[in-house]
């Protein structure tokens, strides 16, 4: 049964002056047979919105089509409750503000957009939120160090139940073993006790937090609000259900044994910063070789860091940690000669005050590169280095202690034998460590971003991993110091809370926050091709043993990549589907060949390309009126059948505007635009079979700030199509 639709055309913001809105209204009433079509000069005003509301009630409208401004604005004004479908037709930014007024082509564009909007509204259905039995909101925190303790404490303070799992027999982690921490409060010059002891007390006292030490995670299956977690303690399994997961398993220090050039392992008086911290905590920093006092010490910063042969990255906290330890030595013996050999001193923010304090204590800083460490008969060390600012070879002799400031390797990886191929943490072979043991089709652990850190694109996904509902915090996510880890863990706890709250209502998490639609699979026609299970960027779809997809809707981000992947087109959302977009293409009025008015379908990513087009309009940048823009959730949701639909309809060209992909991708769904690119590469062959030029389909990467380039991109493509000539399938 056809649903009851109302069409509302706004004539404000120069829409009324630029277009023949009477003719536009006739598209709705005559062509599309929509009896209710109204015009208003100020639709987003109180009276305008009221007009629509009254009609929704009085006429029992199931869907309203609003032909006005961009869907990116006034969405709150044009919200008529959960049972009314709203479809927006962007006449303002993408028609009248970017094309000449009183123009035949501008008018044709507006009319096409209205046809497409009505078609979409006709095909749309109201989403039904996904709600499962026994959804829970408790949070599993893996790792009981500073970040884990903070996340657990913050979540509990917000009223959520927490299960905190720590593999060691005690809480506190790396920071718990520190003697002191670097200053965190004014005057930013004094050593402080670490916050760990206080946090452990808070966590242990909290009635909402359940602590499991000497425990590991044996298995996790399910998804947000439905995670079935199996813990293991002394070989004994136990199970419970969790809503979201914070991973705070920290980092391990880089393996100093690989730094034989610096004498580690050969000379007992060469130690790591971690070992020095242990000595300080135990109250006596002395020469490990013979227990003699330390009169001269050399700190080697960036030991194995920012080094292409070891860890190529900066571990961000070693400079300040070494400053702190230099102060330990000065505290113990104010006359000690303490040298710090550095590549660069990175003391950001208020740590600069601390750096000055340590300088004032007489610690001598040398920009240099250590070339060798040697030992004499009395086990005194000599450190040879290139003094980079004096341009000379230099030496520190009679040294009692050499301290190597080693970097951080995420706890999710460990070293492997030389020759192993996987080297996520720089050029040192590493293997993934079992931390979460996810029962996911796409692997048991979190995917890494750079150097083995299970991070995600931080701008698109702050605090997140590439697994929905699992949030990494602290130095497992990226190298960071105590202050940063505390902040990070608080952020991750908040994300976990958002996740359980949204998911328990059937709504999507970031970036389509609140979206109630989710992909549904028409399984009778599934061919078990595994495209959807392989391509889902978030590992939301498992497989059974016969390769049937087993969707986990609470893991889903609703990007539609599976829908774009499916060759059988059996995956669709209630309000976004392959036939719906196909019908929108078919709704375009394609002029006859002799009219010499080509038509171009532009599939534009909603996240960057579509707003860039809006911004072009906002800046009144003009482009050709042959384009018909269709926003897509992600370019990865583009199904190749739409290309065929377009070409068979007589459309002359298809342009895909999506996000940058590759290592520094900007795709909001990680690899959607990349997948679209891969799929497109396979289209050329099909075009050839149809005697069509491959140039008729083009993909361009744009970001939101490329709005000034977008008109050029559209016009270039139009010019190329003119060269190629019209689509021979016109009129078929």
């Amino acid at each position: 049964m056809a649903k009851k639709i109302g069409v509302f055309i706004c004539t404000g913001c120069s829409i009324g002056e630029a277009l023949d809105t009477e003719a536009l209204a006739r598209v709705a009433t005559k062509e599309k047979k929509i009896p209710l079509c109204k015009k208003n000069a100020f639709l987003c005003g109180r009276q305008g919105a009221e007009l629509i509301k009254q009609d929704v009630v009085a006429e029992g409208l199931e869907a309203v089509v609003i032909a006005a401004c961009s869907p990116r604005i006034n969405y709150d004004v044009f919200d008529f409750g959960p049972s009314t479908i709203v479809e927006r037709v962007n006449l303002r930014e993408q028609v009248v503000w970017s094309h000449p007024a009183d123009d035949e082509d501008t008018q044709a564009m507006a009319e096409d957009y209205l046809r497409m909007g009505i078609t979409k509204a006709q095909a749309s259905e109201l989403p039904v939120p996904y709600l499962a039995e026994n959804m829970v909101k408790s949070i599993l925190v893996v790792g009981g160090g500073l970040a884990g303790l903070t996340a657990a404490n913050e979540a509990a303070l917000a009223g959520y139940r927490v299960v905190l799992v720590e593999k060691e027999p005690f809480l506190g982690g790396f920071a718990g073993r520190m003697y002191k921490s670097a200053p965190s409060r004014p005057p930013y010059t004094d050593l402080e006790d670490t916050p760990v002891a206080g946090l452990v007390a808070d966590v242990e006292a909290s009635p909402l937090i359940e602590v499991h030490t000497k425990t590991t995670v044996a298995r996790i299956e399910g998804g947000p609000c439905l995670y079935d977690v199996t813990l293991e303690k002394d070989g004994q399994p136990s199970s419970f259900r969790a809503g979201a997961i914070v991973v705070a398993t920290g980092a391990r220090p880089y393996d100093a044994a690989r730094l034989d050039r610096l004498g580690y392992g050969r000379y007992a008086n060469v130690v790591t910063g971690v070992a020095l911290e242990d000595m300080a905590r135990e109250g006596k920093i002395q020469r490990p070789a013979d227990g003699k006092p330390v009169q001269n010490a050399v700190f080697v910063l960036c030991a194995g860091s920012r080094d292409p042969g070891h860890l190529p990255y900066c571990s961000s906290s070693c400079c300040v940690e070494s400053l702190k330890q230099a102060l330990y030595l000065k505290e113990q013996n104010p006359d000690a000669g303490v040298y710090v050999i550095f590549k660069d001193i990175r003391t950001l923010g208020r740590y600069e005050e601390f750096y000055k304090k340590v300088q004032n204590e007489g610690v001598i800083f040398i920009k240099g590169e250590v070339t060798a460490v040697s030992e004499d008969g009395s086990r005194n060390l000599s450190v040879e280095f290139a003094d980079l600012l004096l341009g000379e070879r230099a030496e520190a002799a009679e040294v009692d202690l050499v301290v190597l400031a080693t970097g951080m390797v995420p706890s999710t990886v460990d070293y492997a034998e030389q020759g192993a191929e996987d080297c996520p943490a720089g050029n040192v072979p590493t293997v993934q460590q079992p931390v979460l043991n996810l029962a996911y089709r796409q692997g048991p652990e979190l995917p890494a971003l750079n150097y083995g850190f299970p991070d995600s694109h931080f701008i698109c996904f702050p605090y997140e991993t590439r697994r929905t509902g699992i949030y990494a915090a602290g130095s497992v996510r990226a190298p960071m110091d105590l202050a940063a880890a505390t902040e990070d863990a608080t952020g991750a706890a908040m994300k976990a809370i958002q996740c359980v709250e949204l998911t328990s209502r059937g709504a999507a998490v970031h970036p389509r926050v609140g979206d109630l639609s989710y992909p549904e699979f028409f399984m009778q026609r599934c061919t078990q091709c595994k495209r959807c299970t392989e391509e889902c960027p978030f590992g939301a779809i498992n497989e059974d043993e016969k390769a049937n997809p087993l969707p986990n809707p609470t893991r889903c981000r609703r990007c539609g990549v599976c829908m774009g992947a499916c060759p059988e087109r059996i995956i669709s959302f209630k309000n976004y589907s392959v036939p719906m977009i196909g019908n929108m293409i078919k709704a375009i009025d394609v002029p006859e060949e002799d009219e010499e008015k080509p038509r171009i379908v532009v599939f534009a990513c909603e996240n960057d390309a579509y707003p860039a087009l809006d911004m072009a309009g906002l800046n009144h940048l003009g482009y050709n009126a042959w384009v018909r823009v269709i926003p897509v959730r992600c370019l990865g949701s583009m199904n190749l059948v739409w290309v065929a639909d377009s070409l068979s309809k007589g459309i002359d060209g298809i342009l895909l505007l999506g996000c940058k992909h590759g290592d520094d991708y900007q795709c909001h769904f990680i690899k959607g635009s990349e997948l679209a690119d891969i799929r497109l590469s396979k289209v050329a062959e099909t075009l050839g079979r149809l005697q069509l030029e491959p140039d008729r389909v083009r993909m361009v990467q744009v970001n939101i700030m490329d709005y000034d380039k977008v008109p050029g991109i559209l016009d270039d493509f139009a010019e190329r199509l003119v060269e190629i000539g019209p689509n021979p399938y016109k009129g078929f």
Partner: protein
């Protein structure tokens, strides 16, 4: 400029000289130097210095006393204050240079003509409480001896011109009436400063 030149010998880091310098009136500010080099590019006489201020301070830390004390760097400083105004660590570099000159004079590193000039200037000042330019000049050339005879001749033209324009007073100014008390103050200050330093 000798920056960035590498010598074949190996530089041995030794903290004694740095301690000596840190003990001077403004010396401890040097601890804060982060070797950014803003002083070097701000210096009016950088091009004729053996080492830039930055490099000089690095040499102090390395303990290379002879190179530091024998360098012309601090003697070339004109007290123009640009480095002091710009130093991001707020080091009064000019005052450190004064201290280094003082150390050089005290310990006999006086090969540069500026050392003689400084001594001549102070002697003239101490004698009267005010400066007589003619007196300073005479004392200076007396100290330098025959080796600067050429310079006297070179400045002859300028001197004559200044004389004819009334710019070279031939008689010294009157001495300060409270000269004795002035010198008592100076003596007391030097004594107290000495005590404070130790």
């Amino acid at each position: 400029m000798a920056d960035n030149s590498a010598s074949s010998g190996r530089l041995k880091y030794e903290a004694g000289f740095a301690r000596e310098v840190y003990g001077m009136e403004n010396g401890s500010y040097l601890k804060l130097c982060m070797q950014c080099g803003v002083c070097a590019v701000s210096c009016a006489t950088f091009k004729i210095m053996d080492y830039s201020p930055r490099r000089l301070f690095a040499l102090v830390r390395a303990g290379r006393k002879e190179e530091v004390m024998k360098s012309n760097t601090f003697w070339m400083c004109t007290t123009c204050l640009m480095c002091k105004a710009r130093c991001p660590r707020g080091i009064p570099i000019v005052d450190v240079m004064h201290d280094l000159k003082g150390l050089a004079l005290k310990q006999g590193y006086v090969n540069y003509p500026q050392a003689a000039f400084y001594q001549a200037f102070w002697q003239d000042l101490a004698g009267r409480g005010r400066i007589f330019e003619g007196g300073v000049t005479a004392r200076y050339f007396l100290k330098r001896g025959p080796k600067d005879f050429g310079k006297i001749m070179a400045q002859k033209d300028v001197g004559l011109k200044m004389l004819s324009h009334g710019r070279l007073p031939l008689r010294p100014p009157k001495a300060v009436k409270g000269k004795k008390e002035l010198m008592q103050m100076v003596a007391k200050a030097r004594e107290l400063e000495q005590k404070g330093a130790n």
